[in-house]
């Protein structure tokens, strides 16, 4: 058993009195695929924003490989090996797929602006390696046919796949996916699961937020349930989905809908 790659302790975040995250605590084992589920508005995305540095938590601790991430900017956290995707899918619409992935900073760390401007040997080496990795990832997510198309022409699901490839580009230790298959053509959901599995085999850990029960059950070894900003339950997916407290939390919110 390896230790946790991510540890979240007593995380709190309020927006003008709304307690979005209220003492959430959980961890992600290194190399694992962990699920983070919960009813709408239970604070999952807000927790991800706090973990990845996009929101400043009111209280609590986030440890990446044991190191406190407090006060770090999103870009610093990304460079330390924690990347994420966004629930509202984000890509560079005006860039083609290759350009989308070549933006990622990691392959060019240490080159410097001078090297980039003058196309130094170090820059060219980094660029060749980055392009090779980008093409590999585009192949992995099955978009090779579209590699030269502007991202604007991609379907919603294809954009999610491109965003996923972007999060993988820096070979991170942990990738947080916020609803990777919401809005994706149902016939393609199994493919996405397979892509995650393959990336996970390369050693990358995943924390996955998703409402699609089948997707989570098929993929995750461990699931954390959030309700009203706090952890309600955790365990293997089939066990969690039978937990009466979990059923009640979902029914309480969704039975009405």
């Amino acid at each position: 058993m390896s230790g946790p790659v991510l540890e979240v302790r007593g995380l709190r975040k309020s927006f003008a009195g709304v307690r979005a995250v209220d003492g959430a605590a959980f961890s992600v084992r290194a190399g694992s695929i962990t699920g983070l589920i919960g009813p709408n508005g239970s604070g999952k995305s807000t927790a991800v924003d706090c973990i990845s540095g996009f929101q400043r938590a009111d209280a609590g601790q986030v440890l990446l490989d044991g190191a406190d991430l407090r006060g770090l900017t999103p870009q610093r956290i990304a460079r330390r090996g924690l990347t994420r995707t966004f629930q509202d899918v984000r890509v560079y619409e005006g860039y083609d797929l290759l350009q989308n992935l070549l933006v990622v900073a990691q392959p060019f760390v240490g080159v410097g602006w001078g090297g980039e401007l003058l196309r130094s040997a170090g820059y060219r080496r980094a660029r060749v390696a980055a392009e090779a990795r980008a093409r590999e990832l585009i192949e992995l997510v099955g978009l090779t046919r579209l590699v030269e198309a502007p991202a604007a022409v991609l379907s919603y699901g294809q954009k999610k796949l491109l965003a996923f490839a972007g999060a993988m580009m820096s070979a991170p230790r942990l990738v947080v996916l916020d609803e990777p298959v919401a809005g994706v053509n149902p016939t393609r959901i199994n493919e996405v699961a397979e892509i995650v599995r393959r990336a996970n085999a390369g050693g990358t850990a995943f924390l996955i937020i998703e409402h699609n029960v089948e997707f989570i059950t098929g993929l995750c070894e461990h699931v954390v349930v959030l309700d009203r900003g706090a952890k309600l339950a955790e365990g293997p997916p089939h066990q969690v989905h039978q937990d009466p407290r979990v059923l009640e939390a979902y029914l309480g919110v969704e039975a009405v809908a």
Binding site: F54, Q75, A78, T83, R90, Y92, V111, V153
Partner: protein, 312 residues
Amino acid sequence: MRLALPVALVLLVALPWLTASTYIMGIAVSGVLMTVAAAALNLVYGFAGLLSFAAIGFWGVGAYCAAITVMDWGGSFWSGVALAGLVNGVLALAIGVPMLRTRRHAFVVVSITFALLCALVSRDWTAVTRGPMGIPGLPAPSAFGYVFAGSARFWFVALGFSVLALALLHALGTSRIGLVLKAIKQNEPLAQSQGISPLPYKLLAFVVGAVVTGMAGGVMAFHLGVVDPLIFDFYYMQTFLIIVIIGGAGSFWGVLAAGLAMVVLPEALRASNDLRMVIYGGVLVVAMLAMPRGVAGWLEDRRVAVLRAKLR
């Protein structure tokens, strides 16, 4: 297409032999200098997404720096233009750091305030700027005993400077720095999630833009032969902006083409100086309605539409 650039360059170099009119040469000189300033604004606005009206401030500050270097400190034209770049670089660094920490709209307002403040200082700090009278009688620059007197000769100074400045802006725009700048403009949080720090990139664009604009202003001063508070006239800012917007913000060649077109157009339409501003404004409004992303943006949109149709 590949021949277009060398042919254009040869034609530009040969311009004084193609026309005997000093009037046309004068238009050409201010035209290339304003195109350079527009290309610099394109780096700041088109690439970094910063709608900055500070450009007109840097343009004027550069003009004063170059003029004062020559008239009060006994320096050469060349050192004056270099100093214009240096002063503007330091100035942009100093105001850029706090400005870039403000929100989008606040940034625009602060940049306008800076431009107005520059004009105010040029009028009231008479000890240095000589106030509303300005600094007249700027001499023609010279190098190795050759004096670039008259628009036909000054043309080579303006063209040489412009080619160098545009080459720098082109290298920057096509480098990874340009790629990252436009990525930040398209989706800043996404860039951050990919390890990019937006602030240093924006600051770089802002400072380089200021240096190039300031140096262009410095050269412009010696073309006009006089620097006074009118160098801060919003007519210049309006021209830079129109060139960028019509050419297509973020497109180097689009802006370059629009720069050349906008030099020819107002001269063709020239009825009176007052009417020119109105015509400019009219062109801007019509262009914005028809092609909100400029000619280059309009072409790109067509390309995407065709691709989309193919993928259906």
